[in-house]
């Protein structure tokens, strides 16, 4: 296995392939509860789609030329990736760091804080991928997918999951209790969820707010995913990907810096 040096300039994360062991540990645990977990992955978005799509969609009618259900499906794929990755990197990772001391055991083995953080964030991204894949299947079965391009949503979701996993890991790194996460939900995630074009198009908002939404990553994920789901091609993909990847890398870097100070001081 590749053993990266213990320190690097600017405190950049020293990445090694050993992070895979952390990712696989979480996969093993997930497999034990795979059935209920997958059931939830399918069930919850199905309920959302049906309840909001039919109930709400009748009132709303079409958005542009899209039936509301179709519009909503691509939004929920993105918001589900955000929620799933964030929950995993907040509550589950924090539990493994503090209550279960799972990370402590890993750090006694030849793993570093950077390996653990990368393994956890990759796992959060994987869970985002699993849940979004389930929604994609549901959407396809309901006839809400417009073409084969929808399959390209999956790598975008993986990046989105990594991005939100890394952002959540920063919060986990500074958090002293579970309660602290509520600030993140209230001040960051909920506004982002409501203002990123998941439930309604951004052009319904005042222009300043709509532009502001693009300072945060979720709107960029939606901008790529929605055209792909309709069987078309998104525009400005490079910029959207750069924002997602930028958030991912900066947050990963910040998370490892803070975690190293917390766990290795």
């Amino acid at each position: 296995m590749n053993d990266a040096p213990a320190t690097s300039p600017l405190g950049m994360p020293a990445v090694s392939t050993r992070f895979i062991a952390v990712w696989r540990r979480n996969l093993r645990v997930w497999r034990k509860l795979m059935l209920p977990s997958i059931f939830g992955n399918f069930g919850e978005p199905l309920l959302y789609l049906l309840a909001l799509g039919y109930g709400f969609g009748r009132l709303v009618g079409d958005i542009g030329e899209l039936p509301y259900m179709v519009f909503l499906a691509s939004g929920i794929i993105c918001s589900s990736a955000m929620n799933t990755a964030s929950f995993e990197a907040l509550y589950s990772a924090y539990t493994r760091m503090t209550v279960q001391r799972t990370w402590g055991a890993m750090l006694d083995a030849p793993l570093t804080v950077d390996d653990v953080a990368l393994g956890e964030i990759s796992w959060a991204a994987t869970k985002a991928l699993i849940s979004s894949s389930a929604i994609l299947v549901v959407a396809a079965l309901l006839g809400l997918v417009g073409g084969w391009q929808a399959i390209l949503v999956l790598p975008v979701i993986l990046l989105t999951g990594f991005c939100f996993g890394a952002c959540a890991m920063v919060i986990t790194a500074v958090s002293r209790s579970y309660d602290f996460f509520l600030y993140y939900f209230t001040l960051v995630m909920t506004p982002m969820l409501l203002l990123s074009g998941v439930f309604f198009p951004l052009d319904q908002l005042p222009p300043l707010v709509a532009q502001g939404a693009f300072l945060l990553p979720l709107a960029h994920a939606v901008e790529i995913v929605r055209p792909l789901m309709l069987g078309g091609w998104p525009s400005g993909v490079a910029l959207h990907l750069i924002v997602l990847a930028g958030y991912a890398l900066v947050a990963f870097w910040a998370a490892t810096l803070i975690l190293r100070r917390r766990l290795m001081s």
Binding site: A21, R24, R25, R101
Partner: protein, 317 residues
């Protein structure tokens, strides 16, 4: 001996010593937790770090494992400079932590398999190794149990088995028998002796004198971040304390403090107990024989007497 010979010897020692520390320091803000520790842990020995709470034992262990960078000094573990190459060193180290951190999401056997994966170990030989370790820890009947179902002693045995998954040259144990009942403690001690017989090097922290006396070939008594004595338990007792102790309790101690103090090499008053240390107990025992009301206890001096003499008797919180 000339300078060149000195250098050669120093180099050989750094190659053979399992842990070699020079002037190791750790400072947290304004507090010096470890100040200038020199250590040479020899291959195949059981080396104890003995000290009161807050003496710097656990911090020293964490520096050895590369889990906190020293504020100063030099440190080599298994020939690797630490913390620079701590990961390489940890590949050959097994750790039994002070507080159990077994993985509650896995069964007993899965815990060993998962921990092995952190070392990059897998394959057919691993299954055999896991079975051997479960037998070593007397847990072969409980391989499919959840961690929550284990007693404290079983958890500690599993922690020890887990620490051996990578066939380590060095096993580091932070208070290995704290919180265990006597049976569980005896079992752990036997297993640790087996490890030393297998040629592994052990470093353990403890504040149990009996544990230190029974297990350790050599001990460093550490207090306020410095090593104040380092030798075999027997030599420590011989060097620092008179071999006989007579403890007196009861109503009339004040009188004996002067009488006994004259017959003993050293007298110490702790609460309502008077401790008389002496090389020749006979005159004292004769004098005490003439006072049938006085309760006393004659015992050989031990490590605890050395420890309390060197670190003092005030409570540490």
């Amino acid at each position: 001996m000339n300078r060149a010979e000195h250098t050669i010897i120093a180099e050989t020692q750094s190659l053979t010593a399992v842990v070699r520390a020079r002037g190791l320091c750790k400072r947290y803000g304004e507090t010096d937790v470890v100040r200038g520790v020199d250590l040479d842990v020899r291959p195949g020995e059981c080396f104890g770090l003995l000290g009161p709470n807050g003496a710097g034992k656990t911090t020293t262990l964490r520096m050895i494992l590369g889990q906190t960078p020293p504020s100063g000094g030099e440190l080599h573990v298994l020939g690797h400079p630490v913390p620079e190459q701590a990961r390489r060193a940890r590949r050959r180290i097994g750790v039994v932590p002070q507080m159990d951190n077994l993985d509650p999401d896995f069964t007993v056997r899965e815990n060993l398999l998962t921990y092995a994966s952190y070392f990059g170990l897998n394959g057919a030989a691993l299954g055999e190794r896991v079975d051997q370790l479960l037998a070593f820890a007397n847990l072969d009947g409980r391989t499919r149990e959840q961690i929550q179902a284990l007693s404290g002693g079983m958890k500690r045995r599993l922690s020890l088995a887990r620490a051996l998954i990578n066939e380590p040259d060095l096993v580091v144990l932070d208070e290995p028998s704290t919180g265990l009942d006597p049976q569980a403690r005896q079992h752990i001690w036997q297993r640790l002796n087996t490890l030393v017989e297998q040629g592994r090097t052990l470093i353990l922290t403890t504040h149990y004198m009996e544990e230190a006396e029974r297990l350790c070939d050599r001990l460093a008594i550490i207090d306020h971040g410095t090593i104040i004595a380092c030798d075999s338990p027997r030599n420590l007792v011989a060097a620092h304390i008179e071999p006989h102790v007579i403890e007196l309790r009861g109503h009339d101690i004040g009188d004996w403090q002067t009488r006994g103090g004259a017959l003993a090499a050293r007298a110490e008053r702790v609460g309502d107990t008077l401790l008389l240390y002496t090389r020749d107990p006979e005159p004292l025992l004769q004098a005490l024989g003439g006072d049938p009301d006085q309760r006393y206890w004659h015992r050989p001096a031990g490590l605890e007497d050395v420890f309390l003499k060197l670190t003092g008797r005030e409570l540490r919180d």
